[in-house]
Amino acid sequence: MQLVLEKRAERSNTIALISPLIAIGLTIATMSILFAILGKNPLLALHAYFIAPLTDGYSLQEIAVKATPLVMIAIGLSLCYLANAWNIGAEGQFLIGAVAGSWIAVKTQGTDAGAWVLPAMLVLAAAAGALYALIPAICKVKFGASEILTSLMLVYVADLFLDYLVRGPWRDPQGFNFPTTAEFDPVATVPLLIEGGRLHLGSIIALLVVAAAAILLGRTIKGFEIRVVGAAPRAARFGGFNANQLIILTFAVSGALAGLAGIIEVAGPVGHLQPGISPGYGFTAIIVAFLGRLNPLGILIAGLFLALTFIGGEQAQIAMKIPLDVTKVFQGILLFYVLACDSLILYRFRLVFPNRQVARGAG
């Protein structure tokens, strides 16, 4: 018996639509087995993961807060992946954005700086993220160095740089030697949408980013170029599209969005710069981008779903003592199923029995 792939005459739109749902269904089935192996009641665990966070207002806000960086980073990454440029260092660009924006917050701390502080932080963070993403992009275009490896190596560099800053020059003198900056001033903080709640302005910015990406990809020539260069490089060359220029552009945009997400996270929910500000947003965003089929609206939904797993994971840990690593396992398995189901769009799976065929051929 052998598994054989047959190319479909054209991509199946029905399956393109339902494949993420099949993937989620298969993931939930697999996770139930894993919960049972861990000795937990699968139904209770699934309830803690997926239903409980949806039932109270605080958790709902928390989901939106967690989805904000995921969606912003994933939108940028989707542009890269559509153009066949493999930026997997968004985590580093996120951290560098957080560092660059924090620089203004730290330097203006305790002064009577006005309302310009937060906008300046956002702009600087986006610029820094873009510049940091341009390093692998330029290494790729000018020297042909693999952007996958260079962008990933720079994640570790960014992480160590942030660590150095908060343990050294930027450490809060009144912070009891903890590696953190002082709490940002109110002018350097992302405003909340609801008084006393968790939801902040960043979520609105994320929605604007989704809308902008939808317009870029659906309504502009640049967006068309990005899609053609990725899907049909030869056709793009004949069309006179400059693939290298698009690598630079998509890397810069995705770096800027990751950097922006970084400063919004630091100046919003966290409130100060410290190591460990990201529970791997830059990597989880890769899953979000694929689960959302590299489509802006899809990414918004996928981002909310992945955020739900983060919050659900925390609640399951508290309520049922399920280890937090289960969330990572869940995300990894989900990405596998998403990719496998995507294969169904282009191919038909068939099991063939070679022996019988040989017999028929001989007869």
Partner: protein, 305 residues
């Protein structure tokens, strides 16, 4: 003298996991498959290897558990990319995410436990030779295995018919298929070999390098191993040089901190990663007369029967 000896010993120890993992990935990539999941397979090798050694008290069984874990992980990758023709880059990333999570689950109960690390060779007279004695005749078994492995791979790739066929699959899968070679089966074996090596390399860390397990202890070594394969331009000889060079950078960085050089430790820790970027750029730039990468590397192959 003793300091020099100590430095050489620690460089060898730091280089060995890189060399083992990169050797496996070199074979995988030579068959035309790019498996970016080395980090995930390594960390699973570390967790399962430590678990095996801790339960049985045997380093050999621990190493075998690491190898099996690596192979199982690589089989998921093979099923996805070779069986279902899924994008290799994305699948490799998924494998790393899964490996990091699963290893955390497996190793959670073992954090804080210790084992007796792998024994070092101890020959009468020979190991006692000053300076080179312990370097050449006093290593743990992993170091000797890693060297045997890379020599074996060199011999296989360039001196055997099977090695030639494997390289053919990596350079032109359509032609190899037309000649009647089972491209997907050959690639599956190459991916499994890569998984076995990554698992062994991961197991080396808790079994010989440090006698305990901490989550995330591979700390990006799998990614450096991937970079080393590019660095070596897919040649076993250069891979050895590259691995020891990177081991040396890692160790030098530690000693520089001890010598009180006035640079923050984080900058020194960033050196191996920065070195990888610089080396990638320099090498890619030097290669003006066409790439030396296997021509079919990372491309999907669906036989048309």
């Amino acid at each position: 003298m003793e300091l020099v000896e100590a430095i050489i010993l620690s460089v060898l120890a730091a280089s060995t996991p890189l060399l083992i993992a990169a050797t496996g990935e070199l074979v995988t990539e030579r068959s035309g498959v790019l498996n970016l999941g080395v980090e995930g397979m390594m960390i699973m090798g570390a967790a399962c290897g430590f678990a095996g050694a801790w339960f049985t008290g045997s380093i050999v069984i621990g190493a075998l558990c690491g190898i099996v874990a690596g192979i199982l992980m690589s089989l998921i990758f093979a099923l996805m990319t070779l069986g279902l023709a899924v994008n290799q880059v994305a699948t490799g990333l998924a494998l790393t995410i899964l490996g990091v999570g699963l290893s955390g689950l497996i190793g959670a109960g073992l954090v804080g436990e210790r084992i007796t690390p792998a024994a070092h060779l101890d020959l009468p007279v020979l190991t006692g030779i000053p300076l080179i004695g312990r370097v050449v005749f006093g290593e743990d078994a992993f170091v000797y295995v890693s060297l045997a492995l890379i020599i074996g791979v060199w011999w296989f790739l360039y001196r055997t018919r099977a090695g030639l066929v494997l390289r053919a699959c990596g350079d032109n899968h359509v032609s190899a298929h037309a000649l009647g070679y089972p491209v997907l089966r050959i690639r599956t074996f190459a991916v499994m070999f890569g998984g076995a090596c990554a698992g062994l390399a991961g197991a080396y860390l808790p079994l010989a390098y440090t006698p305990f397990f901490i989550p995330g202890m591979t700390a990006g070594r799998g990614w450096i191993a991937l970079a080393l394969v590019v660095f070596s331009s897919w040649r076993p000889g250069r891979l050895v040089v590259g691995a020891y060079l990177f081991g040396a950078v890692t160790i030098l960085q530690l000693h520089a901190q001890g010598w009180g050089i006035g640079v923050p430790s984080q900058f020194m820790s960033a050196l191996p990663y920065l070195a990888t970027v610089i080396v990638l750029v320099l090498l890619s730039r030097a290669r003006t007369g066409g790439s030396t990468a296997p021509a079919a590397l990372g491309t999907v192959f669906v036989p048309d029967r």
